[in-house]
């Protein structure tokens, strides 16, 4: 999996490309955390438009980032969530701490 990100003020837009599993999530979380720390990120928008596969390791990875930003009242946004991923997010109760939007620009309007 590859990760592409851009920072807009205190907001980080993270786009995953490929498959998110236990093996892959180990490396991306370090990469995201260093940006959260160095750029003083408050809100994170995760873009799933190019994710081919995700299992519950992705839930752990998202919740871990939520814990990094919740102290500064930061929020997590999930965009371009399709079929199976939506099921996994619903089953795991992720929508109680993260909000779903259709597109990155819709999420950026409300951050």
């Amino acid at each position: 999996m590859k990760l592409v990100y851009k920072c807009i003020g205190k907001n980080m837009v993270v786009k995953f490309i490929g498959e998110i599993d236990h093996h892959q999530s180990k490396t991306v979380r370090e990469e995201i955390d260093s940006v959260i720390y160095n750029d003083n990120i408050k809100n994170i928008i995760f873009d799933f438009s190019n994710v081919d596969f995700m299992d519950s390791s992705g839930i752990g990875m998202i919740l871990g980032r939520y814990k990094k930003v919740e102290d500064k009242d930061g929020k997590i946004f999930l965009v371009n969530v399709r079929g199976n991923l939506d099921d996994i997010f619903k089953i795991s109760g992720l929508y109680s701490v993260a909000q779903k939007y259709n597109t990155v620009s819709e999420a950026l309007e409300v951050v």
């Binding site: 599993d21 999530s25 752990g60």
Partner: protein, 144 residues
């Protein structure tokens, strides 16, 4: 696997390396493809296999290198998948099946693996004995 006369059957064994999580789910997905399932059904099976294999990679052998075994049988439209390890076992299966239960929260485990397997498959049973190992047995019927 249980005594069923399968129309087709395959067996995999591989080391408990996290690199093999994608190998395992892709291989089972490719085997099941002969039933011409929907993309959604294939994704559900791959996700369930990924959850079971990831559990075995993370919890079964602690830091030891050892084997994980997958058996997959097809009878009619039913797919049977067993994911087995010969690791430390699960002392309390009922507790392990509870949503959000994990013994490794520090590794960012959400504890949702079994819940997702139960949601995506039609049947799930877990057999485990401390010091002997664990078998996760799953079944899913593929719609015509």
């Amino acid at each position: 696997m249980d005594n069923i006369n399968f129309d087709n059957y395959m067996h995999l064994e591989f080391l408990n390396k996290s690199e093999n999580e994608s190998f395992a789910r892709a291989t089972v997905g490719a085997f099941v493809a002969q039933l011409d399932p929907t993309v959604s059904a294939i994704t559900e099976i791959k996700t369930a296999v990924s959850e079971a294999v990831t559990n075995a990679v993370i919890y079964a052998y602690e830091s030891k290198i050892d084997y994980i075994y997958i058996s997959c049988g097809i009878v009619g439209r039913d797919v049977y998948i067993n994911v087995e390890d010969k690791g430390i076992g699960i002392p309390d299966i009922e507790q392990a099946l509870e949503p959000a239960y994990t013994t490794k929260p520090e590794s960012e485990r959400a504890g949702m693996g079994f819940t997702i397997m139960q949601s995506f498959m039609d049947e799930l049973t877990v057999e485990s004995k401390t010091g002997v190992g664990t078998i996760v047995k799953m079944m899913k019927s593929i719609e015509e």
